[in-house]
Amino acid sequence: MRGWMLAGVRRSPGPLIGTVVASAAAAALTVAALSVAIADTSAPAGRLAGASVVVAGDTSLHVTVGHGDDARQSLPLPAYRGLSAGLAGQLARVPGVAAATGESGFPGGVVRPGDVDLVAVTAKPGVSPGVLAGRIRAALHGGRGYTIATGPARGDVADLTAAVERSDGQVLGAALIPPIVTISLFVLAATTGLAVSLRRRRFALLRTVGATRGQVRRAILAELAVCGVAGGALGWLPGVALGGLGVHALAAHQMLPADSAAWRSPWLLLVACGVSVIVAVLSGQIAARRAGRTSPAQALRETVAEGTWPSPVRILLGLGAAGGAGTLMAFTFGQKSAAGQLALALPLLLTCMVAVALLGPVLVAFAAWLARPARAVGGPSARLALAAISAQPRRTASAVIPVALAVALVGSVYFADASIAHATAAQAGSTVTADRVISGPGLDAGALRQVRALPGVRAAAGVAPVSVAATDPDLEPVYGEAVSDGPLNRVLDLGVTSGSLGALRPGQIAVSALEAAPGAMGVHVGSRLTVYLPDGTPYRATVSALYTRSLASGDVLIPASAVDGHTGAAPGFAQVLVSGGTAGGLAALAAGHPGWHVASRSVANAAAERAAAQDGFANNLILGLVAALAAVALVNTLAVATVERRRALRLLGRVGASRGQVAAAFGWHALFVTVTGLVAGAAAGAVTLVAVTKAATGSWVPFIPLAPAAGLVLGVGALVAGAVMIPFYAMSRREPALAAG
């Protein structure tokens, strides 16, 4: 009975192919992100494979932050808390235990004498691990303060990095889903809007024949639902493959445990279809409403009198969005904390994109007005193209908008990343002011003393990266460095704004200006602050200095003496920074220590700069997804819009235009779309880019390297040219009326 509703999909799906492709892309990316977010990330039990139950000190940190339901926050710890060796004997007396042995030497293990990392318990025959774990929990008075693991959970106790990595990777996967869905909504709304507007007369005819507005709307939504299901089914397997690749890549970058496997349940097909149906139907709401409102009288008119100008409502909404973007921008820059600014970046970008999308026709009309001089240069073809653009700015806007959105999205994500990487590299490349840097194994307090004893050495300090947990204001890992006592300011230039880095004593901590800001840790010199060391031990300290150059060195500096024994590694430094002394003296010392490497300041800084520049994997992943979606939208919309100009093509042929002239007119059209889209997109993206750059680096000026910028422009140009000219040549071959030449 409903055959009439879906006949369009079944018999002339042409205009809907774009919708299917876009919803397939949305489904594939969602499936990929989801299969990463809930990947099977259980780590192998390794040495503990023979143990029935494994007992360790609680491998997570629990901190109560503020009040309320989610006040209690947890974070996996990268180091063992350590257990007294005597615990093994106590556990051996639990009924059903065959043996309980204290084990040590795991990565992140305890180095304090007399302590073990964990206790491996084997059960007597006939006692299940679950039952035994229950008895052990009872013997430990409820097990508070312990992690008691059986089965696959033993893997996480055998390798603490697994839990840390999992939380990194899965948080990233889950965090990608909302932007993917939001951007897909944009993409699909543009594609669907066009597909519906191309068939206005069809819907107007339906209205004259007596279809109610609701029937027309439901017919369009039914079509979109079918497209969504088809897109979901098409996107499912590519999404699963992409998810597999994503898990591999994340594992390779230590953002997931090494043996992780993507979630490959058949349920993903359902998820794919569900997501793409929801996205397709949501995206079509506006288009469906508009088609329902189409005056039926239009079917009777000779020409499709589509309104030249957008409705005042659209312009008002567009101005509202632009105003909202302005307010949000002011609010973003007013945010004192970098975290607050960064959190507002995505809403800011989306608001700017909404404003550009709504005001698109106005922008096109304005750009067409600006482009009038091109008529003199481009001859009749340019005149023709501009006339078509000015006559129907709304139609042209539907081609310009996806170009602008692609530029805004890709540009702001890429150049924000580039700006941060640039600032990081610049800081990394100039933070060290020491003359020489020693790196290598066994750089401990004794080695530091030896270095300081060398003739001519004015100052020497050791540094080692450390990850602590802090509430800023949520419990999160904070990366920083453990530093030896001694005059840091003579080997490092961290841009101290208050306090002093002359020496960092136990009980003191230095914090970066970004972390210290209100809204993050909210501290100043003299404040009391608690951070949690890798094994969960709290370190209560007084803030002794604030510094600005934190991109390379991290956000906290802690005295090495406070950290030793709590990091899961032997005390020691990654680098010793030396001011003064002679190359010969250091070389002689290094000769006695195999593996030590002495580098000059410039070489060390260059190495740090390189290391900082390579650290963009997660951003590249996000960028790839965003670029893929944006490219699909762009090609989709432009190809559909070009095919729709077949009538104009035919007419031009009939009045004697040559193929070359028509090709030039289409080319001018493509050029107009590219330039207008680039400018509008750059404007929309720049707002967010400046906000992010300011938040992350403190500078108002983003770093925009020429080669990628040119690449973006050329890439967009190539996509537009392809999406316009390939359909054009395909159509023009079937138009014999076009004169040769």
Partner: protein, 238 residues
């Protein structure tokens, strides 16, 4: 059907010449009327207002005894599919539906069963049958397409059929055939045809001439030759 003092202005041009200027006309049940005029005389606007596709700026339109101004959009749509039929110059048919689906469309929209026999009967009345029913509109000639449109307009046994230049895209011979069919098949139904073709009036009881949005004159039982002369006069005047 009755129009009283119907005025229609388009857009914001409140002061410009209205497309319809206080037109009053009544169409008796079962009558067959041609509305003629030169381009821009307001004849298509008249049809759209009469059919409820456009809302007049002033005046009232009564269709099938109901004042259209009092009906919601939804009620107007229901009225159209139950009691009004349409035939347009072109783009009459949904290209992705077959001939029989196009004919049955008003019934389907009305959630009514479209019986095979009914569709075949409607098609047979306009001389379509057999394999043609399963074809798509693009596979038919222009004349055949117009016949499908007439069959679709008739399927609901409407009280009024509106036709806007139904023969505009057809050659004279085919046009005459299509009009004869419409006249015969629509027996008892009120028919309003908008046209600029004098030949159409051969089949009409009455010819209404519009000029600058006003009724210029009404000719009962019009002769094509007379109609052509009047049209020529009107053309000279504008």
């Amino acid at each position: 059907m009755e129009l009283t003092d119907v005025t229609k202005r388009y857009g914001r041009r409140r002061r410009g010449v209205p497309a319809l200027d206080r037109v009053s006309l009544s169409f008796g049940a079962g009558s067959f009327t041609a509305v003629l005029g030169v381009s821009g005389s307001g004849k298509s606007t008249l049809l759209q207002c009469a059919a409820g596709l456009e809302r007049p700026s002033a005046g009232t339109v009564r269709l099938c005894g109901t004042d259209l101004a009092g009906l919601s959009q939804r009620r107007q749509a229901v009225l159209r599919r139950q009691r009004v039929g349409f035939v347009f110059q072109d783009l009459n048919l949904l290209p992705e539906l077959t001939v029989e689906e196009n004919i049955a469309l008003p019934l389907r929209l009305d959630h009514r069963r479209a019986g095979r026999a009914d569709i075949e009967l409607a098609a047979a009345r306009v001389g379509l049958g057999g394999g043609q029913l399963r074809r798509r509109p693009a596979e038919l000639s222009g004349g055949q397409q117009q016949r499908v449109a007439i069959a679709r307009a008739l399927i609901t046994r409407p009280e009024v059929i509106f036709a806007d230049e139904p023969t505009g895209a057809l050659d004279p011979h085919t046009a005459v055939g299509v009009l004869r069919l419409l006249r015969e098949a629509a027996d008892g139904t009120t028919v309003v045809i908008v046209t600029h073709d004098p030949q159409v009036t051969r089949f009409c009881d009455r010819a209404v001439f519009l000029h600058d949005g006003r009724v210029d004159r009404v000719l009962p039982d019009p002769e094509p030759a007379v109609v052509a002369r009047v049209l020529h006069e009107l053309g000279e005047r504008s």
